[in-house]
Point group: C2
Chain length 250, copies 2
DNA sequence: CGCTGCCTTGATCTTCTTCAAAACGTGTGG
DNA sequence: CCACACGTTTTGAAGAAGATCAAGGCAGCG
């Protein structure tokens, strides 16, 4: 066993370089159809900003006037409830957008956006983004597709919360995260982001204790390996079997 | 007490008249910005069809090639799990769209769409709808807004399932349905759709027994009045207080 | 008028939360 | 480099919420 299971996001202090910006914007699924000259002009309308891990980008209730795009790092969206019972709605990675997509200026966000790791985030005024969409229908259609697929994921999450046990939800969430963030290492398929028991608990709608017990169980079965804020999957099949008879494609 | 609490949807056998079609399409939030000549030409690209209550429009797993719009009646979207454990994801009313919004032809639906009451549904090929969107950016932007607001609702549902008790979820769902479908009658604010305990159970992620007990409780408090497949709300405040300290705006 | 399916109510059992305390890891200051 | 302190994680035991199993009641319909 050598070193930490999580690979450092080796990003310079200067995390928001111009080069990176252009590269990200070109790589965005919804801009990829545009000529690069057009992308460069769009690039000029974006503003970048770096965030420390844990720093808040905006709070639930704030009037949000911008659309944001994750250029590097990870951003989490969460909803709050009484007694600090938060829910982690989504974990966004490079290329994902969030914030105000709609025309309504100053709409209040229902979610808090927080940098989960050190991140670079691009932003553009909601109105400017709308102009781009109006000028480039192909972009609007791509954005629509992405929203549709997000809605699908959200619906699957609703189903999952409705019918699964806590253990099944943890298994499902780990498999989901592995698809999104997994990378092979000596420890197994490591989910490449620092993931505390609390984070996981807020994703599956359970307490940290329940998640801890569940992970312990998974470890005894040798399905996963885990430490402080990291998890690696060693046996996808084992986890998948927990969902047996219940898993559609998603 | 006179008659049934639910008002009949007084729609002729001929539920899909041409008049209705045009009226619906004009009333759609995303077409409202277009000149009526344009709407008439769009109208010609839609096909209508009536469904009996309980009839399936498409099954989960089917390749769906059309976008559908509810012209009259109610349509429910559900996801299935093992052992008949279904989840009622959404209840669509006049003007709501569903089906294949994306470009991908023949994409498999994750949901089953079923007529909850006798319904008239308009449909258009997914490709044709895309053409309309591409030609009319204003329409695309409106559709995008609607999707965004649906995503918001879905996220709120996720939060709710994560932190609320079954009783709170029932209360929340009733208030939500009252906003969407409520109409004042002598019995109170009646939710205008036949709503069985099973339907409610599938909406809140609980068993029919739990829902039944909860409704009984609410009735004893005189917050609601209910019978076979109908519910009326007599005291919004009572229900809302159950959500105390926990309710954001949504 | 009796059948069928929905709704209600009760008793028991499982799952998960809550409360509590100990073990562990990590970073800090001596 | 070690020791201490803090936050996270683990584990245990008790309790509550909800599911399940089971039976009886009621409404609508043939």
């Amino acid at each position: 066993m050598s070193g930490k299971p999580l690979q450092k996001d080796d990003i310079d202090p200067q995390i928001c370089s111009i080069d990176l910006r252009l590269e990200i914007l070109q790589g965005l699924p919804f801009f990829s159809s545009l000529p690069s000259s057009e992308i460069e002009s769009i690039n000029r309308r974006f503003v970048e900003r770096g965030y420390e891990a844990g720093e808040t980008i905006y709070f639930a209730g704030d009037p949000v006037k911008h659309l944001f795009v994750v250029a590097s790092g990870k951003v989490k969206l969460q909803r709050h409830s009484f007694a600090g019972k938060d829910v982690l709605i989504d974990l966004l990675i490079q290329g994902d957008f969030f914030g105000n997509l709609s025309g309504k200026q100053g709409e209040e966000s229902a979610e808090t956006a927080q940098a989960h790791t050190m991140s670079c985030v691009l932003s553009i005024g909601a109105g400017s983004f709308r102009e781009i969409l109006a000028q480039h229908p192909s972009v609007a259609l791509r954005v629509l597709d992405i929203q549709a697929s997000r809605l699908k994921t959200a619906h699957e999450q609703i189903r999952q919360l409705s019918v699964y046990t806590a253990e099944q939800r943890v298994a499902w969430t780990l498999l989901h995260l592995a698809d999104k963030l997994g990378s092979e290492t000596e420890h197994g398929l490591v989910i490449q982001t620092p993931l505390s028991r609390k984070d996981l608990a807020e994703m599956v709608g359970a307490t940290t204790e329940t998640v801890s017990r569940t992970i312990s169980h998974f470890q005894h079965e040798d399905w996963v390996r885990s430490g402080r804020a990291w998890i690696a999957i060693r046996d996808r099949e084992g986890l998948r079997q927990l969902l047996e008879d219940t898993t559609p494609s998603f």
